[in-house]
């Protein structure tokens, strides 16, 4: 009799953890699988003069870049993105205070404008003005 009681007490103290561990592992796997890392974002600052303001005329101090839906034009010459990048870096080294005027056509994709702004940022040109045409 005494022996039987002792046995029962020992059994009561032990809890079956298996189902809980199963559930917790399922949840853990769910969270690991659904975890998504966020992209690190960049900022590209521009000036946008009021729409009624007339775009400034061609000036020596101003650098003109036009963005079309087929490519880029720098100071009247058609350039590829790599050429534009090279030219901008040269200008950025010689006169970093140059104002850049970027004119985009309505049909040009936003990606092109972003590429130009990125190239200007790389060339340390900070005065960037975006116009539409």
């Amino acid at each position: 009799m005494a022996r039987e009681r002792k046995h029962k007490v020992g059994e009561k103290a032990e809890l079956n953890m298996t189902p809980m561990i199963d559930v917790v592992f399922q949840l853990l796997i769910f969270f690991i699988v659904t975890l998504k890392q966020e992209d690190i974002l960049a900022r590209l600052d521009v000036n946008r003069p009021a729409p009624d303001k007339v775009p400034p005329q061609v000036d020596i101090e101003l650098l003109q870049i036009q963005v079309y839906n087929l490519g880029f034009v720098l100071q009247g010459h058609r350039v590829t993105l790599e050429e534009l990048q090279r030219q901008l870096e040269r200008i950025g080294r010689n006169s970093p205070n140059t104002s850049v005027v970027i004119k985009c056509t309505a049909d040009s994709p936003h990606a092109y404008l972003m590429q130009v702004l990125n190239a200007c940022g790389k060339a340390k040109l900070t005065s960037l003005n975006v116009f539409s045409m």
Partner: protein, 141 residues
């Protein structure tokens, strides 16, 4: 003698689970706390990769405006028409004065749709605008 063997067998079968459960619970709590259930950005917008630009720091007071590839305007994944956007912008400008505007434009958006948003901002008096690009890609797709 036979009884003794039986006892050692049951003892060997049970291992101490406590440390593992502790670790698993810690991991669980970490994932639950860091998980964001609701999306507060428009997931359809594909930003342009602009590796050479400055890092975007989170700013509490910045207004984020999203322009998707069809030119639809939204903010924190809440879609609105351009007049509503103008009203919201104007109300905020009257309340707090100048504030940063972040434009999350899809890379495939035509400039005319970005222009419409920029013109609304410039109209109100916000002519310093910031475009958002990706500095470092972490997500797959």
């Amino acid at each position: 003698m036979g009884r003794k063997i039986h006892k050692t067998r049951t003892e060997a079968a049970s291992i101490d689970m406590t440390p593992m459960i502790d670790v698993v619970f810690q991991l669980m709590i970490f994932f639950i706390v860091t998980m964001k259930m609701t999306k507060d950005v428009n997931p359809n917008i594909k930003l342009e990769l602009t590796k050479d630009s400055r890092l975007l720091e989170n700013s509490e007071q910045a207004l984020i405006v999203e322009v998707d590839r069809n030119g639809m305007v939204s903010s924190h994944n809440a879609r609105m028409d351009r007049e509503t956007f103008r009203t919201i912008l104007k109300a905020r400008y009257n309340r707090v004065g100048e504030f940063p505007v972040l434009i999350r434009g899809d890379r495939r958006t035509k400039h005319r749709d970005i222009r419409a948003v920029m013109d609304i901002c410039a109209d109100i008096g916000l002519w310093r605008l910031t475009f958002v690009g990706i500095k470092e890609k972490k997500t797959r797709t």
